[in-house]
Structures are given as C-alpha cells and as structure tokens.
C-alpha cells in the first residue's frame, strides 16, 4: 500500500467529517437587555429539545451573546433569573438550521419582587464586583474562611419538588391566595434554607459560623465545635445547625425545625417538623461560593429537593438594619384587616 494514498484517504475522511459537522450546525446570537438597558453577565441557556443537551453562553459587556456551534434542531432558550431583579426568560421552539445564524434578542422582565433596594441592585452589585479575583482565603487553623458579605443567587435550573398529595394541595392553595399567608409578609421569619437571593454576611471563628441577614430572625448560628444536635430540640423557625469540614467543604446539618416556615425561595413549600436541611459551602475562589442545598422531609417530599447556587462576594456591602414591624404595610395593602 502506498503511503501517500493512505494519507490522502485519511485527509479526505477528516475533511469529510468536518464538512459534515459544519453542515449540521448553526449559530444563535443576540442581545440580553431589560427595561433599563443591556445586561452583561447573564447566562443564556439553549436546551436541544430532542436530546436535552444544554449549551450555555454568557452575555458580554455589550450585552451580546453568541453560541457559534449549535447542532441543528429545535431548542428551548432560557435565561435564569438574576437575583430578584429579573424574571426567568423562556422561549420554546427556537430553530437552529445548518449553516445559518438565528438571531434572538432577549428582553428580561422584572422579577416578581424586583422593585426596591437590593432586589433591584442585584445587577449593579454583580457588575460592581465582577472583577474581584484571588484565591479563597484560609483561617489560622487552615480551613477555608467563608467570612464575608455574599450576594445570594438562585439555582439557574431548579427542579420541581416531588411532593405527597397533602403538600401539593397546600401549594395550590398558597398560589390561589397569592401567598398572602407567607410568614415574612407578617414579619415572621423567612425560609431556613439559604435560597433567598439577597445579601448575607458570614462571620467565621474556629468554633462558630454566624450568618447575619436582613430578614427575621436576622441571624443564625452554626456550631463548628463538634457538638451534636440536642436529642429533643425545641422546634424553632431556623432549627439547630451543626457543621463539619469535609476537606474544603463545610457541610452544615440542620434539624429541629417547627413546621411554620415556607421553604425554598420562589416555591413556598410546606414541610413538617421532620425537615432536615443539608448545606454544603465551598469557597471556589476569593469571589465565589458554591452552595449546594439538600432538603429532606419524608412527611412532605417523595424525594429530596436540591438547589445548587453560586454566590458572589460583595466586599464593599454590608447587611443593613431592617425592622419589618416598622411601618409594615402588607396587611393594609393586602386588605387583610
């Protein structure tokens, strides 16, 4: 066999493969904006409906995004919510044709509660601290130091909870009444799961992690001193939290909850006193924290609920004093009186 022929054949085969691939691929591009202007740093997701493959791109400073090499097919294009500032965007049946460019400009609607304060400032905070770089700091005892002010975020692709029938009923009821019995509307404590996409401050010592936040009850203690949960804890809104280090991940275990809180921001799920929450905090670098939450409650859910978020450090911010009972207009405005 002639060596040169073999090379030619191989080249022909390779060229054929490339041509074939290109012929099956197209481009998706456009701009991400909201009512106030262009949005940088938004994640645009394209899910190929036939295969469930997920492709992502991030909008540039110009607001433009581009996915230059998508297999042809029909896609669901989405942009997860940015904090409380923007609502989820979803567009079904976006067709990518071989060798063609599909233009899709995306306008994000305001988030349900994106009206005041930090809610609306989410985008500004994200932009302000986009260039914070450095390694994750460590404490004197060698563990990652989670101390700092963190801007929470939402799971980009939250999976719906699989619930027992009673809990499904409760959720339906809550939706039908516009969540008017939500505890925080009545100045009662917020969700014990760290899913509210707002600022919170972590203060870590060798034996304690204190989380400060603006919502009631304003702080939470996580004991790092090796203690166990009390045997028969008095049920509370925030429960009892202990943690241990799994290499560089802090694994927080909470139980001892009452059954009054509505859990998982945006979902407002019910639960029983069997609620068990596991949080895993891993500081990826100076500016980012990976937060994985597993919520178990065999009295409510048919399988554990998970949420996966990446928080951003906001070193120039602080948690502010917030007094819900001062001039709370919810009951008046909701017509509950």
């Amino acid at each position: 066999m002639h060596i040169r022929s073999l090379v030619v054949i191989l080249l022909a085969t390779l060229a054929g493969a490339v041509t074939f691939a290109q012929s099956g691929r197209g481009v998706l591009k456009g701009t991400v904006r909201n009512a106030d202007g262009i949005i940088a740093g938004a994640t645009v997701q394209a899910k190929r409906q036939a295969t469930s493959e997920m492709f992502t791109a991030t909008s540039a400073a110009s607001g433009q995004y581009e996915m230059p090499n998508l297999p042809d097919g029909t896609y669901e294009v989405s942009v997860p919510p940015l904090g409380l500032a923007t609502a989820r965007f979803t567009q079904q049946n976006v067709v990518i044709e071989p060798g063609k460019t599909t233009a899709l400009d995306i306008v994000l609607a305001a988030g349900g509660q994106g009206v005041i304060g930090d809610d609306n400032a989410f985008l500004a905070l994200q932009k302000k601290y986009a260039n914070v770089r450095g390694p994750a700091p460590r404490t004197r005892d060698g563990h990652p130091d989670l101390t700092g002010v963190w801007n929470g975020s939402l799971d980009p692709n939250p999976q719906p909870a699989a619930m027992l029938p009673w809990a499904d009923e409760v959720v339906k009821q809550r939706r039908a009444t516009n969540a008017r019995e939500q505890p925080s509307a009545h100045c009662l404590p917020d969700d014990p799961t760290p899913t509210l996409p707002l600022l919170r401050k972590f203060v870590q010592t060798p034996t304690l992690l204190v989380q400060l936040f603006e919502q009631d009850p304003h702080y939470r203690q996580i004991f790092l001193d090796g203690r166990d949960h009390p045997k028969d804890a008095d049920p509370t809104w925030m429960g009892h939290s202990v943690a241990r280090w799994d290499k560089d991940t802090l694994v927080v275990d909470s139980s001892g909850f009452n059954d009054k809180s509505w859990i998982i921001f945006g979902a407002g799920l019910p639960h029983t006193e069997m609620l068990h929450v596991i949080e895993k905090y891993r500081r990826l670098d100076l500016a980012h924290m990976q937060v994985d939450v597993i919520v178990e409650d065999p009295g409510t859910f048919t399988k554990p609920i998970e949420r996966h978020m990446t928080w951003q450090l906001a070193p120039g911010e602080d948690v502010l004093e917030y007094i819900c009972n001062e001039n709370n207009k919810f009951e008046a405005n909701a017509g509950l009186n």
């Binding site: 404590p189 010592t205 009631d216 304003h218 917030y322 007094i323 009972n325």
Partner: protein, 335 residues
C-alpha cells in the same frame, strides 16, 4: 520587764473590745417574693457620708454586714436582672455593740415573670463562682467572645434631663410606658443595658452582639474605619471600636430618635445621641462595662451606667420571634 509585757498584752486585748464597742452589725435573710432564699444578691449599707459597705448573701439567703460604725444607714439590695426589683430602706439605725436583725423580702421586677427573667438568680448563682484568667485572641487582645448574663447598674444615678425630655418621660411613666417600642416588636435599647443574655462573637475586625430582642444583633467594626459622615439614622446606629490597652472602647452614633433608653427608666433622646461603651474583662467570669450616654439636646449631663456581666458558658441565646403571638396590643387595649 514582766510588768511591761503584761501591760502590752492588756492594750492589745483592749483594742478589739474598743472596736466592737463602737461598732455594730446588720444581719438577716433575703428572700424572693416566692419565699425562696435570694442567694447571690448583694446587700449594701450606705452611711450618712454616702459610703457603701456590701456583702453577698449565702446560699441560704443569709447575710451579715459587720463592723459598721454606729449611725443611720440606707440598707439596699440592687435590682437583679429582671427578676427582683431594687430594695431600699433608709434610716436603719445601727447601734454600737449590737447586731440588728433585718430580713428583706424582695419584690418582683415588673418583668420578672417568664423565661430567663424568672431564672436570673438560678443562672447567676450557677456561674458566679467561675474562676480563671481572661482569654486572649491570637493577636493578643482580650477576647470577649462567649455567652454573658448582663445585669443592671447596682446604684444607677438618675438622669438629668432638659424640660422637654423630663415632660416626655413623665408622660411615658403616667401612661405605664405603653408606647414602649419593644411592646410592638420594635427594637430594644441601643445602649445594650437590658439585663438579659448576650452572646459576643469577636474576630480581629468585628465584634458582634447577638441577643434575643429585635433587631437581634449589633455589629461593632474593629477594622479602624470611621463613622460614615452622614449615616442613615437607624435604631442601633453605627458602632466602631478601638483598643485602649486592654479596654475596648465602642463608639456609637447615627441613631434615630425612636428608641427608649435604659431599662426601667425608658428615657427619650434625639438623633444627637452618642453612646460610648468601655469593655474590660478582668478575669474569665466578668466583663465590666462602663456606658456613657451623651445627648446635649436631651440630658443636662451625660448619663452613666456601670454594669458587670457574668460569663455563662453553658447557656445560649435562643430564637425569639416577637411578632409570633404578640399579645401586647390585645392585653393593653392600645389601638
């Protein structure tokens, strides 16, 4: 020589007799309103010159104040937390060479009815004999971290107020303090003098107080920052701290004018309020705090409180949610 020795011996023997002859004592038993021994409370005898002698009641509530010069005294027992109210009896006559029996029954404090308030004496007595040295941080500073049971100033001096403040304070008193912010689930006193539990979490840059009242925490910045030049007024204000040797000096400004200051007194103030707290930990068990409250638009001179907190390492601040089942408005018929 033998005679001289005898003479000296007689003089030595006579001195104690002479002292006892000019001195008297007060002794008795202190009980709570429930009739339980009020162990651990301090009994004070103030003489005509304003000088105090004091002793702590034993586990049976018994006390004995000895070696008091003959004369008239005010016998008092400072308020203990929110459990017992201050007791004071003026014009108690101590006679030379006699022991006056003086039993004291403490009245409950207005708030001494539930939870930690009622348990104050038990908790206080559980930890009052804790011994040890004050711990230090890795940087060599005193470490104030831990659980503390606060107490009130044993001998608080009345505030001297401008006429408007005096009038406002009398109005509050005459209405049984019904507009007190905490009764409506609004924040407690920014002077942090309420005699309840506090947890201090101290790092190099920050000192946090956690407490059961709204707003549940206060941050004091130890990182050298200044107050903001034009802070948004808040209930707790803006607090920075600096070290003066082993004393931490906390300085707070930027408060709104809504809070009521100092438990049991509930003073008004303006946005000019300026609070200086000096923290020193002389040993493991104690935190001595001097609080100075300035407000030239309210007080004729600064109000001071000198308190001692007790370390209670086995206790914890609990979740307290005021808005949950608050009965104040219902019971007080305030609309």
């Amino acid at each position: 020589m033998k005679r001289a020795a005898l003479f000296v011996a007689i003089i030595l023997a006579a001195v104690p007799l002479l002292a006892q002859a000019g001195r008297g004592a007060v002794a008795g038993r202190v009980t709570t309103d429930q009739g339980d021994p009020a162990a651990g409370v301090t009994i004070q005898a103030k003489d005509a010159a304003g000088k105090y002698a004091s002793v702590v009641a034993n586990k049976n509530g018994e006390y004995r104040l000895t070696n008091l010069g003959a004369g008239s005294y005010e016998i008092s027992v400072p308020q203990m937390g929110l459990r017992t109210a201050r007791f004071a009896q003026p014009d108690v006559l101590v006679e030379a060479g006699k022991t006056l029996t003086f039993d004291i029954k403490l009245m409950p404090n207005n708030f001494g009815i539930i939870g930690d308030d009622a348990a104050f004496l038990q908790i206080y007595n559980k930890y009052k004999d804790l011994k040890g040295r004050a711990p230090r941080t890795p940087e060599g500073r005193p470490d104030f971290s831990g659980m503390w049971l606060a107490n009130v100033d044993p001998n608080p001096q009345p505030a001297q107020m401008l006429p408007w403040a005096q009038k406002e304070w009398e109005r509050r008193r005459d209405r049984a303090f019904e507009g007190m912010p905490t009764s409506r689930c609004l924040p407690a006193d920014p002077t942090l003098t309420l005699p309840v539990f506090y947890k201090i979490v101290q790092t190099k840059d920050l000192l946090i107080h956690l407490f059961e009242q709204d707003p549940h925490y206060r941050q004091a910045y130890l990182d050298g920052r200044e107050h903001p030049s034009d802070p948004d007024p808040t209930w707790m204000g803006h607090t920075v701290g600096r070290w003066e040797k082993d004393t931490l000096v906390l300085d707070t400004v930027g408060m709104n004018d809504k809070s009521w200051l100092l438990q049991a007194t509930w003073l008004p103030h303006t946005e000019k309020l300026h609070i200086i707290e000096r923290y020193a930990r002389p040993d493991l068990a104690h935190l001595n705090i001097d609080v100075r409250i300035e407000d030239p638009d309210t007080f004729l001179k600064p109000v001071e409180r000198h308190v001692q907190w007790l370390h209670t390492p086995g206790e914890e601040v609990l979740e307290a949610v005021c808005a949950e089942n608050n009965k104040f408005l219902e019971y007080s018929a305030v609309k």
